[in-house]
């Protein structure tokens, strides 16, 4: 079976999810082709087909390149070209728009595929008809940003996607429900396949559930507003005012560093809060081993693989009630869930966890690790992906 996966770029090192997925499918005997917005990368060991470039600021060159690509496509795949043309026409698009759309789809529609799968909903925009004209099934993955945020800025952006998609992969049930609330037919076949981990790679720091004298608190994630580190920092301010000895370590980089450093400075936490920047998977695991409590204060999450990894490492996890996190952590069983944007409640919960007996903490840590191993293994994920493309 031939599967084309459309991504905005070659998956980054940190996007383990895609790497696992592509590897799993290849190993299961599927022929996988990756369509990306990036140039070909040697280190990435799969068949890559970059999109034709958008040459901003060079209208003349863009014109001729587009002309050549359109003629080439018409020559190689005349029927598909015309089907796409008439399909777009039916949707009321202007000729200029249609030709642009064909250019955007040209690197895909000349291939023979059984499935055309979009790695993000947003990558399917203006490519809603591609699978249809190729006679392939259309799949799409729902992740946090493209369902939670992108439509807020672009209302109605998925209307054509909802009509054309054959099967949906969602990383959490709530994302699917959210899509339904935005117009997706609730009967659209869908499969929840969460991110996964390799449990053997995670070791537990201590097995008796005890904490150090100075509590090490950790968060791993981009420095982006949606992670709501301001709430985490405010929480630390409360802990400090209660005389608790702790440090708060943040792994990740992003555009909000200045904002967060100012929050730390304004809250008088320069000695407690550390920004580590980006770290390798190995370094993250080492830091996790030296962590007492994992914290995730996000305003919203699709699912959040960092929290899953922290549970697999056997860390006591305190997370917000962001929708994806409520499927990731079971409250009072594999961790604790706190109302988002409430530093007072996060601080209260952290203190509660610190005061707990070692046995109580250990029970939760063991539950979390056992559940991560059982329900979120790479092996299980690979199986689910295989079935995703085999059954409809």
């Amino acid at each position: 079976m031939k599967i084309g996966i459309v991504l905005s770029g070659i998956p980054k090192y940190s996007e383990t999810f895609f790497h696992y997925k592509i590897k799993g499918l290849s190993e299961a005997g599927f022929e996988v082709k990756i369509f990306t917005g990036d140039k070909r990368q040697k280190e990435f060991p799969y068949k890559q087909y970059p999109a034709y470039p958008v040459l901003s600021g060079k209208p003349l060159r863009q014109f001729f390149l587009t002309l050549i690509i359109l003629i080439k496509t018409l020559f190689i795949a005349p029927k598909r070209f015309l089907r796409l043309y008439s399909g777009e026409m039916k949707d009321g698009k202007s000729i200029g728009e249609i030709l642009k759309t064909i250019y955007i789809n040209a690197h895909i529609i000349t291939h023979e595929l059984d499935w055309l799968h979009f790695g993000f909903a947003a990558t399917a925009i203006r490519r809603e008809l591609a699978a249809g004209v190729m006679g392939a099934k259309m799949g799409v993955s729902f992740r946090g940003y493209d369902i939670n945020i992108y439509p807020l800025k672009n209302p109605g952006c998925y209307d054509r996607l909802w009509k054309n998609v054959d099967k949906v992969h969602t990383i959490s049930e709530y994302l699917f429900q959210k899509a339904v609330s935005m117009g997706l037919n609730s009967k659209t076949p869908h499969e929840k396949i969460t991110p996964a981990i390799e449990p053997d790679k995670f070791k537990i720091r201590n097995s008796d559930g005890s904490l150090g004298n100075r509590i090490h608190i950790l968060t791993v994630g981009r420095l982006n507003w949606i992670k709501d580190y301001e709430t985490a920092i405010e929480t630390m301010k409360i802990l400090k005012s209660k005389g608790i000895s702790f440090d708060y370590n943040i792994i990740g980089s992003g555009s909000e560093l200045e904002r967060l450093k100012f929050a730390v400075y304004q809250s008088g936490l320069e000695n407690e809060v550390n920004f580590f920047g980006i770290k390798s998977h190995e370094e993250v695991r080492v830091l996790m081993m030296n962590t007492d409590i994992y914290l995730q204060t996000s305003m919203q999450e699709g699912f959040c693989v960092s929290v899953l990894e922290a549970q697999a490492a056997g860390l006591p996890c305190i997370v917000s009630d962001a929708d994806g996190l409520r499927e990731n952590v079971i409250d009072n069983f594999t961790g604790w869930i706190v109302k988002k944007r409430r530093p007072d409640l996060f601080a209260k919960k952290i203190i509660e966890v610190i005061k707990m007996s070692n046995e109580e903490r250990l029970e939760i840590m063991n539950n979390a690790r056992a559940r991560a191993e059982k329900d979120f293994s790479i092996k299980l994920q690979n199986e689910k992906f295989r079935n995703f493309f085999l059954q409809i």
């Binding site: 939670n148 807020l152 800025k153 507003w225 405010e234 909000e256 200045e258 100012f262 304004q266 944007r341």
Partner: protein
């Protein structure tokens, strides 16, 4: 007559500059000063005759001709200065383009040296540190907002530049006492800092406070561009609490630029679309009308120098509620001429709003009167003019 006048260069990079810098230029030109403006001419301007423009051209060809002519002028006037300038800028600029652009900035300054070169944005100290090595006049630096309050926290190079050049600066103008305190941490001499508050234009000043008739729905307004430091995300948390309390209100944010994802997300999350309206900018006259018709100006910021919009609200009889950030507590005294709450504390915002809405009209009228009084005595155009005059004169005398 111009021979006796003190020549002050007001440098912000752009001509014309931001509203408050333009206000400063106007205020200075009404006095015994001659004002020099350097930088890029962004659009046509109409200034009084004692404001002199020395703009640097922007298109490449004109810039090159400009640099050759200005260079020749300096070479004839002062050959050693010319050589020193070329040497300095060659060391500083790795590529030709930035070298020429840099020359285009510095040459007209050297050919038309003022008595005081007043840098409006502290980051210039890092970008154009050659000013310190090449100018023979006094250098003053304004201490404003982000440039002092948080940029150096995340920019080690900027921090280093402040630590080198602040001690070499002849005088500082601080927009608030709070920011003066921050600048001292980077080596600014406390005794060389003069706190001069901004002013409210006389035409905005209400002659007297008016008693307001309260509507059923409490009208709250915030004004200021979209930026994290404005704290609109905390304001929306507070609006969510108000909504949960069943409090009747409308909240209007007037802000330039696109609405950030974070704000869109919270509006959607809290389902506040019926209560909150975000307007993308407004011309000033309409803005003032909208402000005057509101029951409360909310300033939810986490960082400010002293926010002009608060001064404008106080001068037009609108109750003002501000976070305790930057120099805001130098203007507002809680319960006397407005209200102050801690930063980053949405519960305090919503609590205080409800409290204010329940206050009796007499109390609020008194607060408005006091606010008006504060503006008239502390933030008047006359006071600002006098203080700048003293500041500049002390620089050349000392």
């Amino acid at each position: 007559m111009s021979a006796d006048k003190l020549k002050i260069a007001i440098y912000s990079g752009d001509i014309p500059s931001t509203t408050f810098i333009e206000n400063l230029i106007e205020a200075l030109s009404e006095q015994e000063f001659e004002v020099y403006l350097f930088g890029k001419l962004r659009r046509k301007v109409n200034y009084k005759e004692n404001i002199k423009l020395f703009p640097t051209p922007q298109s490449s060809l004109r810039l090159i001709i400009f640099v050759i002519l200005e260079g020749a002028k300096l070479f004839i006037k002062n050959k050693s200065k010319f050589n020193k300038t070329i040497k300095q800028l060659k060391n500083k600029n790795k590529n030709k383009k930035s070298f020429v652009r840099n020359l285009g900035f510095i040459l007209p300054v050297l050919n038309n040296q003022p008595d005081i070169f007043h840098i409006q944005w502290a980051k210039t100290v890092n970008l154009n540190y050659e000013l310190y090595n090449l100018l023979d006049c006094k250098i003053a630096v304004s201490l404003r907002g982000a440039h002092i309050n948080y940029s150096p926290l995340n920019d080690p190079e900027l921090k280093k530049a402040y630590e080198i050049y602040f001690p070499k600066t002849d005088g500082f103008h601080a927009v608030s006492k709070a920011i003066a305190g921050e600048a001292v941490k980077y080596g600014a001499d406390k005794n060389k800092i003069r706190v001069i508050h901004s002013s409210v234009k006389d035409e905005f000043l209400l002659s007297n406070a008016i008693r307001k008739n309260r509507n059923d729905i409490f009208e709250i307004i915030s004004i200021g561009r979209h930026h994290w430091k404005k704290g609109y995300h905390y304001a929306l948390d507070a609006m969510n609490y108000l909504k949960e309390e069943g409090f009747k209100f409308n909240y209007t944010i007037i802000a330039q630029g696109d609405i950030p994802e974070e704000i869109l997300f919270l509006l959607n999350e809290y389902r506040l679309n019926d209560h909150v309206k975000i307007i993308k900018g407004m011309e000033h006259v309409k803005l003032m009308e909208k402000l005057k018709s509101s029951d409360l100006l909310l300033l939810p910021s986490v960082e400010e120098g002293i926010a002009n919009v608060a001064l404008e609200a106080m001068s037009s009889g609108v109750t003002t509620l501000s976070t305790d950030c930057g120099g805001m507590n130098e203007v507002i005294h809680n319960g006397e001429n407005g209200f102050i709450i801690p930063v980053r504390d949405p519960k305090s915002i919503s609590g205080k709003i409800m409290e204010i809405s329940r206050s009796d009209p007499e109390t609020l009228l008194n607060i408005s009167l006091n606010a008006l009084d504060t503006i008239k005595t502390e933030f008047s155009r006359e006071k600002q003019k006098r203080e700048f005059s003293e500041f500049y004169n002390s620089l050349v005398d000392g």
